[in-house]
Symmetry: C2
Subunit: 588 residues, 2 copies
């Protein structure tokens, strides 16, 4: 079975170096948190997630979930672990102190989420989706709804779901048909069929709180006519305890490529009692404010599975003897073969760069919600908006790539399910798809984020990267390779950025969106590792961990960052070639 060792030192390093944790802990909202507490929390949580949570990963994959008499049944091993998670309070660290949470910064919450997700992606989706519900309710729910539901969601005694998709409304949520008819008592009767509802039912919690998109009768068409409703599995009695079953049927669960332990439900609502969240017809707007959060969490999933696959492959490569490395007369551990070592270095460099990118976005989120000044908040919000599609798409694409490399390190054993490498490859494949496919992230990046503030937001980011050049120059020879490659890569990304931000041809911009997104993600990864290398450099003589950080940054800069040069042609190549062939000559 694949063990998991949470990379606490790297997490703290990235929180400090990239996440600027000191500044975040100085924000008004976080006066009650200090760095010692954070260190204690991370090491305590590391023990819990590696020892208690991680062992459920393979069991969940193998046993999966089942639908019996209309209810989803989880593996027996999940129940005690879930209880322990709820008791531990790890899921409540970022929750509002007014409702029983600990009010920690989101950066710390994400570090804990990373551990939980590395330990068991399928299982981690419950707190993740519950967190989205908490955000929606906190921001947009009435006092009454908050009082009734929020504390139990923050403690995870009740769990949450996002109920958006319908068969005809996937990427295009404007096509939603589920109906909401007002009842006399101010509630609504919700009716319709919803698909792809993650953890839509299960046997772990006393109640499940669905956040459902639906249309009232006279709502305008498209996305402007969608409202958000809270629909509990069990209606509450006068004491606020779960009582009567609501009118929700679990029609079926899906047979999926991965995350077998996470039930993906088709739910049928047949006049179920729903409570309007916020105002009518504002549902999509509310969802969009929450989506940045969920998208970043999915980016985190790419990182988390990559970390686990990387650790797993490295462990195997150190003990598997096969062939003789150059200069050896005995069978060698395969980590001594150059090609395997290159693969592991690639996995390591991508994983550490993803951590930087995700934590950087989380730090922006903390500043956005807690900064001293409006100007800081505005800037942080713009940074978060820019980084979110990159973190979501780049980290999930790299997650798939790293998991596939993990299989390759295992050779023939990697194809055998018992080795565990295959599960990561299957599980992580959902992440480039859900919460907005990576193609949709790319459109968001190019059509909405690049033009923000007349291009000033992306310009500021590129200028920040360029400003590192002076520091890299001062660092001299040890970072000379990083400096050269970062400058070259930034130049080509800047060229693509200018082209995309000035082209009047919308179709051409959309055609170049995905390759551009990969370029910007690749550059961001190289940038953050370069920052890390600058911090690590003074310590390399005494500390091999710090020395490894400089090597990893250099490896990334010289081996991975140059990929941007192979992408610019596609990013600014326009759409003519792409649409030149009639569909009848595409396919079989």
């Amino acid at each position: 079975m694949a063990t998991y060792t949470p990379p606490v030192r790297d997490m703290l390093f990235v929180l400090d170096t990239i996440g600027d944790l000191d500044s975040i802990l100085n924000l008004p909202d976080f006066g009650h948190v200090d760095i010692e507490t954070v260190e204690g929390v991370l090491s305590e949580a590391a023990r819990f997630f590696s020892e208690v949570f991680a062992p459920t990963n393979e069991i969940g994959d193998r046993k999966g979930v089942s639908l019996e008499d209309g209810s989803v049944i989880t593996p027996d091993e999940f129940k005690p672990v879930w209880s322990k998670l709820v008791e531990s309070g790890w899921t409540a660290v970022t929750g509002s102190q007014d409702f029983g949470g600990h009010g920690f910064p989101r950066t710390i919450g994400l570090a804990l989420s990373e551990m939980m997700t590395s330990a068991n992606l399928a299982f981690s989706l419950i707190p993740m989706l519950t967190g989205s519900g908490i955000t929606l309710l906190t921001r947009h729910g009435s006092d009454e709804l908050r009082d009734k539901y929020l504390a139990n969601l923050i403690s995870c005694e009740w769990t949450g779901t996002m109920v958006l998709t319908e068969p005809q409304a996937g990427s295009d949520l404007g096509a939603i048909r589920t109906k909401a008819v007002p009842n006399r008592d101010g509630t609504y009767a919700i009716s319709g069929t919803k698909i792809f509802i993650t953890w839509g039912d299960h046997d772990l919690a006393d109640n499940i709180i669905h956040m459902v998109l639906a249309r009232t009768e006279d709502a305008p068409p498209g996305t402007n006519g969608i409202s958000l409703f809270l629909v509990p599995k069990f209606r509450l009695d006068a004491d606020g305890s779960p009582a009567e079953l609501n009118e929700i049927e679990v029609v079926s669960i899906e047979h999926k490529l991965g995350i077998h332990a996470s039930p993906t439900c088709v739910l049928s609502f047949d006049g179920a009692t729903g409570f309007l969240v916020g105002e009518e017809n504002q549902g999509m707007r509310y969802m969009f404010t929450m989506m940045n959060q969920a998208r970043l969490e999915v980016g985190l999933e790419g990182l988390s599975v990559a970390e686990r696959a990387y650790e797993h492959a490295a462990e195997y490569a150190k003990q598997r003897l096969q062939g003789r490395a150059l200069g050896s007369s005995e069978p060698s551990p395969i980590i001594e073969h150059a090609d395997v070592r290159r693969t592991l270095m690639t996995m390591k460099a991508y994983t550490e760069s993803m951590r930087c990118l995700v934590y950087a976005a989380a730090a922006a989120d903390d500043v956005l919600h807690s900064a001293h000044s409006e100007a800081e908040r505005l800037e942080a919000g713009n940074r978060l908006a820019l980084l979110t599609p990159i973190a979501k798409s780049w980290c999930t694409d790299r997650g798939v790539e790293v998991a596939s490399m993990g299989i390759q390190v295992f050779g023939g054993m990697g194809f055998i399910e018992e080795s565990g490498a295959a599960q990561f490859y299957r599980d992580v494949r959902i992440t480039p798809i859900y919460e907005g496919t990576n193609g949709i992230q790319a459109i968001d990046l190019v059509m909405r984020k690049l033009p923000m503030d007349n291009g000033a937001v992306i310009e500021k980011y590129l200028a920040e990267i360029e400003a590192l050049d002076a520091e890299l120059e001062r660092a001299g020879e040890p970072l000379a390779g990083v400096r050269t490659e970062l400058a070259n890569a930034t130049k080509v990304v800047r060229k693509a950025t200018s082209w995309l931000n000035s082209s009047p041809d919308v179709q051409a911009r959309m055609a170049g969106a995905t390759p551009y997104q990969e370029m910007l993600g690749t550059l961001a990864g190289g940038y953050y590792l370069a920052v890390s290398a600058l911090v690590a450099l003074p310590h390399v003589d005494k500390d091999p961990w710090m020395s490894a950080k400089v090597t990893t940054a250099t490896f990334y800069a010289t081996n991975l960052l140059p990929k941007v040069h192979g992408l610019i042609g596609s990013a600014i190549g326009g759409s003519n070639l792409i649409f030149a062939i009639d569909p009848q000559y595409i396919g079989g």
Copy 2:
């Protein structure tokens, strides 16, 4: 269920343009085959493989195989289909006419294999492995062994296996321990445990002929002491019919990520009767002569799954309505969205370029075995030797990439097993691993193939690509983009080649092997598509299929070929960085 439409027109186009079919049919061995026969065979076979064979793919994946009372049981649906395949004679087209085959060129055999493999990869492995056994027996077996076994293998009434791997001997076959002790009658008693034996047992044929690597008692250590034995499941009686069971036990079958319908067996030989093939201690040499064949077949598997995944995704993208394409007021089929269309174009371009590469190698193999002159044979052999690791690795890596793109086109449905997209992603993942991992292919390419004939073999190939420049120049504006990008890409590949062929640092060459392999594969794909575009160009006005060929070549040249520029840094970057971090700082 995913349908399959064999791309007969493209197969014939590539056979003609890249495979130089005219010349091959003029070789002395193929006087009995003409182009009309080839066309007839392909269109007849296309019907068989699409209508009869392809429908077993999803069934085989879902039902898998089981081990009952020591025997492997295949899905019921396989038995009648297998009988029809044997009757059809499609697997016997390349077999020797002396033993009931049709003596067709290998290029035609590979085109048929492509159809069989696209239709059902797991099932196609029986004829594939049987073909390897046929080659070994034909080249190295005694007359007696050939007379007894060859005809039944060529007809596929009996099937073959390759029995090489042991738990400690995967990539390093020199570590094999299975023993062969001479019996008095000239046979050998074979004892040992073998793993990863594809189709090592099943219920479809009357006999299974294992080709087993083992050591005689006084054999030298390592690869120089390995002999090859033919070990039948059933020993033959005096009439040559299968009679007594040999001493072979099916210990278990593996639970795999993909190719569920292909039983991967652990076989225990306990003094089983074996017949020496060729001479003692020559087993690895024989295997190597056969391995080029098998490796090319695995490269073909990458192509074949890519073709199927591409067709499947294109079909879905034409009917799935979601969102509105630019300028449309109605929901659009997603093929009209630029990002999806780019994905499909990438799938198309890779698939067609892979077909060229694999067929080019097969054509070299035909010339190698049938050419008029020794000089031609030598040259063809060198070309085959060069192209084999590229075809194996590049096509399987691209196969994984294309299958993953297929899932992405399906969006959320791609993650649901019923859509069929996930099966391609799971199945194809074995191909970069077996028959020599792609890392081993890269070492073979850089350490053995590049230095061949003092670098003259790769030089000739690069010069051939450069020579196309004059033709592309004559073609003018329509191929100007192809010309520029091909020239730029060739320059950078040439630079990497020179570096790798002149560096005295062996570790550095091994460290650069995989990125170099990707560079050369990417260039080869672009080269063959450029050749195709030159052939197609005169017909574009009257024939949209030909016009699509030119567009595809241009898309490849401008969007995919530039990837080589992002790889050269890794290819010639040396090994220092790769080995700079102590293993204790790699992994968790």
